[in-house]
């Protein structure tokens, strides 16, 4: 099947432009493209809107590196407490932060990638999360209407890829990656290992290669 999608880290980094909306998979840097993120920083990328579960931290390279290096103008995440730089930049008016409940964030990205106009969730009813949102009653229960999220580029992390971009994730490193792989115009996957097409059993593929544009082995 098809040509290889494997490219060098610097080639892939050129796909990102200042001001873009970028999704990055991972949960506290587990399942994040912690190596490719350094290419993103090196390329000079700035003013991005970052959609990720959290803001990494300020100690190890990972999602947090983009924050610490002030490349992010807006962060959409469920949690940012492990990276003190978020609060510092937020209080200084340098970083806009939108907090989204984790399950809602996952569903909103899924909607963006699967052509759904939104989902109704009970999460956030009666809290600040409900402000400005439509409440819809179904079978006697109130739900919030949560709308899709998409990005210009998704930078995801998988364990193994074949050359067509079929991906396999490992353990808790799966998290947001499969949804993000469907919700962006360009999808770049950092992987640990690349195998020839046909080596991954079709039942074991967690993200089909048709969703992935570039594979970077790092």
């Amino acid at each position: 099947m098809a040509k290889s999608k494997v490219v060098s880290p610097s080639e892939a980094a050129k796909l990102l432009r200042d001001g873009m909306t970028v999704m990055m998979g991972g949960f506290t840097n587990v399942g994040s493209a912690n190596k490719f993120v350094l290419e993103m920083v090196k390329s000079g990328l700035k003013d991005i809107t970052l959609i990720s579960n959290d803001a990494g931290n300020d100690k190890f390279d990972g999602i947090g590196t983009l924050i610490c290096q002030k490349r992010v103008k807006k962060l959409i995440a469920s949690h940012a407490g492990l990276n003190p730089q978020v609060a510092v930049q937020m209080n200084a008016g340098e970083l806009e932060v939108e907090l989204v409940p984790q399950g809602t964030l996952a569903e909103r990205i899924r909607c963006g990638g699967t052509g759904l106009g939104g989902v109704l969730t009970p999460t956030g009813i009666g809290t600040v999360v409900a402000e400005g949102k439509q409440i819809i009653n179904v079978n006697g229960k109130d739900y919030l209407l949560e709308t899709p999220l998409r990005a210009d580029v998704a930078v995801i992390k998988a364990w193994k890829a074949d050359e067509f971009g079929n991906l396999v994730y490992r353990r808790a490193a799966r998290n947001f990656n499969p949804m993000m792989a469907m919700a962006a115009d360009i999808v770049i996957a950092e992987v640990e290992e690349v195998v020839p097409v046909g080596e991954i059993d079709p039942d074991m593929v967690m993200t089909p290669g048709v969703c992935v544009d570039y594979v970077v082995k790092m």
Partner: protein, 218 residues
């Protein structure tokens, strides 16, 4: 070229496809498209019941009981294929990951409407995945005989049968011509060799937009 009838339709429909496209082919005539792909164009066929990479029909001895196509017929999965559940399958379809869906019609009209799933009182099989495919795929290509076997028009001003989807058809390919629904009406973009504009108009109920230049289907 001596392409005629349904072979011509399949030949022309195949020319809408680009190398690397993910495509869903409907049951019946659309399956012929795979035999007419241009040189250098490799596509990935999605089977909406749950996999990418439809391979050749297996012999009875080779058949894997867990692999059927969306028509319920024995099928196979090519190396590099991927299996998934129905939510993922239709997520790919609605989410813009299926580049083209090619399917047949009972009726199609000048508003880009398609009817191909039910004849009330006669045939009530159900829409299966058809409604999702037509609403969701990036490009909707209808392959159809220009008229019914009785010689009655199938390309109408307004469909009389219950719709599969409204305003979603992009192209109609028949043995006489190619029509493009541009959001306002049906444009006659190409003619089969030897077929005249008047002939197409005579055999079409829909009002057609006739541009200054009309191409050839071959």
């Amino acid at each position: 070229m001596e392409l005629k009838g349904r072979d011509l339709i399949a030949y022309r429909a195949a020319r809408f496809l680009k190398d690397g496209d993910m495509v869903n082919l409907g049951i019946g005539m659309p399956t012929k498209v795979a035999d007419f792909l241009p040189e250098g164009v490799e596509i990935f066929l999605q089977s909406e019941n749950g996999f990418i990479g439809i391979g050749p029909t297996p012999s009875p001895e080779e058949w894997d009981k867990d692999v059927v196509n969306a028509g319920g017929q024995p099928s196979s999965i090519l190396p590099g294929g991927a299996c998934f559940d129905s939510c993922m399958s239709f997520g790919l379809i609605r989410g813009g990951h299926v580049d083209a869906t090619i399917l047949g019609a009972l009726e199609v009209d000048q508003e880009g409407n398609l009817a191909n799933w039910i004849i009330p009182g006669k045939m009530v099989p159900g829409m299966g995945g058809g409604m999702d495919l037509v609403a969701g795929a990036n490009t909707v290509i209808v392959m159809t005989d220009h008229c019914t076997k009785k010689g009655e028009p199938k390309i109408l001003k307004k469909c009389t049968l219950p719709l599969t989807a409204a305003h979603e058809v992009d192209y109609i390919v028949t043995e006489l011509c190619v029509l493009h629904y541009n959001g306002e009406g049906l444009v006659l973009t190409e003619l089969a060799p030897g077929v005249t504009v008047d002939e197409v108009i005579a055999r079409t109920e829909a009002k057609l937009i006739i541009p200054e230049t009309i191409g050839c289907m071959i």
